[in-house]
């Protein structure tokens, strides 16, 4: 069963150590260790999709090593508003990605390593993969107190999570990927993974928060590079293949035909936000206007990331009659997105008779609405 031609030609490209021919075959079946040259979360997720769909895994396993610039990655069926602080992420320029596997939310940055184990569906075995990682860590530092829990986490010192797992089962192929915290920024991690949004009710998959720790904190000499090497070596030994890492460029259409459109799809609003299971919001906010504090109650239902039902209950007479209703009706059908609300609100305002009082009140109300998103 031949590899797709393009990936085969990738193998023939001059790489790290040796010539490619010796790599495949061998006693334990074939195997491939790939490492991404890119830190773009969408491109790397696209590579996973590509390998999952295009590479034949009969008699072959593939290990894919990747790292990302700061990003939050949510599971396939999660609700980003429930899982992370989208406002903070927008301010800091931290991307949001939705992966295709299940599981919970994680924070990635270049101090975190991602490992994806590709096998046939029959050979899918998460425990084996994680034990492999633990072996690799122990080979580097025999005294390291790491073990795999029955929730498929890797735990350090019995209490700190250093790795989380997720997986996807296709019809004939499967992949299991996990993170490994080496030197990630823990303060950013904890601030972005805390959702400020209140009143959300949803049956989306919820994350289970854990205390985390970096391997670097155990031993400052444990760098990402060292860990990647160790894991690749252990993988090669276990699967009896050459210890040879092939670097791939996730933007290269010649090697991975169709990759760019996969990456693009992963970035669309429809995928990242639109795939959120239906949820409802029932909340209120207090606005301070001049000397009084007003309470506004908001009830919304959001499906496919779009507002299906919207109810805004503001104090009577505060705004011209019907304007609040008009806002609620206009929001119905639009995306649950602060951007869109801003455009909507300012357009609506321009269709009203102008006076400063109205303008200030309107801005206050609409900014508060945007804060919900």
């Amino acid at each position: 069963m031949a590899l797709p031609r393009s990936l085969r030609s990738c193998l023939q490209r001059p790489c790290l150590l040796r010539s490619p021919r010796a790599r495949l075959g061998g006693a334990g079946g074939g195997g491939l260790i790939l490492q991404s040259l890119s830190g773009d979360v969408y491109q790397n997720l696209a590579v996973e999709d590509w390998i999952h769909e295009q590479v034949s895994l009969e008699n072959r396993q593939v290990l894919f090593l990747w790292r990302n610039a700061p990003a939050v990655v949510i599971g396939r069926h999660q609700n980003p508003w429930q899982e992370c602080n989208l406002r903070l992420m927008r301010q800091k320029g931290i991307k949001l990605a939705r992966r295709r596997s299940g599981g919970g939310t994680v924070y990635h940055d270049l101090g975190n390593i991602n490992l994806t184990f590709f096998t046939t569906r029959k050979k899918y075995e998460r425990m084996d993969n994680l034990k492999l990682v633990v072996r690799a860590l122990k080979a580097l530092r025999p005294q390291l107190d790491v073990h795999v829990t029955d929730r498929y986490d890797i735990v350090l010192g019995g209490r700190y999570k250093i790795s989380g797992t997720a997986a996807k089962l296709g019809r004939t192929t499967a992949y299991h990927h996990c993170t490994l915290l080496c030197s990630a920024d823990k303060s950013v991690l904890s601030s972005v993974l805390k959702s400020p949004y209140k009143g959300l009710k949803s049956n989306a998959t919820a994350s289970v928060p854990s205390s985390v720790r970096n391997l670097l904190e155990e031993d400052p000499a444990l760098t990402c590079e060292l860990l990647l090497e160790a894991i690749a070596k252990e993988y090669a030994t276990w699967h009896q293949i050459d210890h040879h890492i092939t670097l791939i460029n996730p933007a290269d259409e010649a090697v991975l035909p169709g990759i760019n459109s996969k990456a693009k799809e992963l970035q669309t609003w429809e995928w990242v936000y639109g795939k959120t299971p239906k949820f409802s919001i029932s909340t209120y906010f207090d606005m301070t206007y001049k000397d009084s504090v007003l309470e506004v109650k908001v009830d919304m239902e959001v499906k496919h990331g779009r507002i299906e039902v919207c109810n805004i209950d503001a104090p009577e007479q505060w705004l011209p009659p019907g304007l609040c209703q008009e806002l609620a009706k206009s929001l119905t059908g639009s995306r649950f997105c602060p951007d869109e609300v801003a455009v909507l609100a300012s357009t609506l305002l321009r269709t009203c008779p102008q006076d400063n009082e109205l303008r200030n009140k309107w801005n206050l109300l609409c900014e508060n609405m945007r804060m919900l998103m």
Partner: protein, 409 residues
Amino acid sequence: VNSSSVFTVRYFRTTAVHRDDVVTVNTPAFAESVTEGDVRWEKAVGDTVAEDEVVCEIETDKTSVQVPAPAAGVIEALLVPDGGKVEGGTPLFKLRKTGAAPAKAKPAAAPPPPAAPEPVAAAAPPAAAAPIPTTMPPVPPVSAQPMDSKPVSAVKPAAAPVAAPPGEAVPSKGARSEHRVKMNRMRQRIAQRLKEAQNTCAMLTTFNEIDMSNIREMRAQHKDPFLKKHNLKLGFMSAFVKAAAFALQDQPVVNAVIDDTTKEIVYRDYVDISVAVATPRGLVVPVIRNVENMNFADIERAIHELGEKARKNELAIEDMDGGTFTISNGGVFGSLFGTPIINPPQSAILGMHAIFDRPVAVGGKVEVRPMMYVALTYDHRLIDGREAVTFLRKIKAAVEDPRVLLLDL
């Protein structure tokens, strides 16, 4: 074929006869001693699916498992609610098998514009792979399906859904169909407001042309030091914004507005310029405030900041609110000439267009110069022709020779 002589046994399909039968698909067994999972539906009742197309995903313990359709057909029923729990073997959905495998339904979901606020109705009979808006004539019911099974596979998931009268040939090129999409509220409101503005204002447009050579030369000469000192690119907008502010101070009536309720003319001594920008979300009009006190660098900075905010999705509503005068640049789309429409409740709008090299008369000779047509649409109830033309000429003078601003001419 006499169907009564053929048994339909579940999961056993006779190849000789295309007979509808309904299959119940169960939850696959879970791997690794997992006992239950949550169902997430990808398809809805009435959706047409191809063989192996994913109908739902089951999430168990951090793993996402896809459940494909065992054959091509139409989803007849979903037996578990979205997010509901299932165990291995739990019945998931019923599929009514059809003979033909329709073209992938997924691309069809995209073309009906997402802007339409009505959630796209996914209930589409197999004859048309695309969702059908509400006002179409009723489509043949599913029972007519077997008759049509021959050409169904020829139906392409085109953006324009087609309703084929039963028994007729498959819709193809030449089918003259319509496609109705309800106007969203925002569009309706804007339309109403624009019409109101058009009915109250006496709108007229006056034109002029601007020789952009000097401005180009100024940019060429000073853009590097400008970039170095201010860390900003020197663009064209600052020249026009500044010129407009200058002209508005010179002709305050253009900066004023009629208050129809009190029948007063409201003069403003501040100049807030709205700059119209087309974004994927719609037209946004961020406002640069108090331009009368700004120099080129200040203006470029303000424009840059607004641009950054827009890019990072941080534009606040108050950034886009107000304004005493609007500048709209049709030139980015290549427009040569055109009449902008006033942005209510203002009294005038300046339309910039694209710069094209044109032969013009300069000092009695023909020269090729980079020329831009500009248009000023104004409310004639408030602004007279002479004022409007003088105003536009002032802008022209200030852009063609920025020294005019310096010398306050």
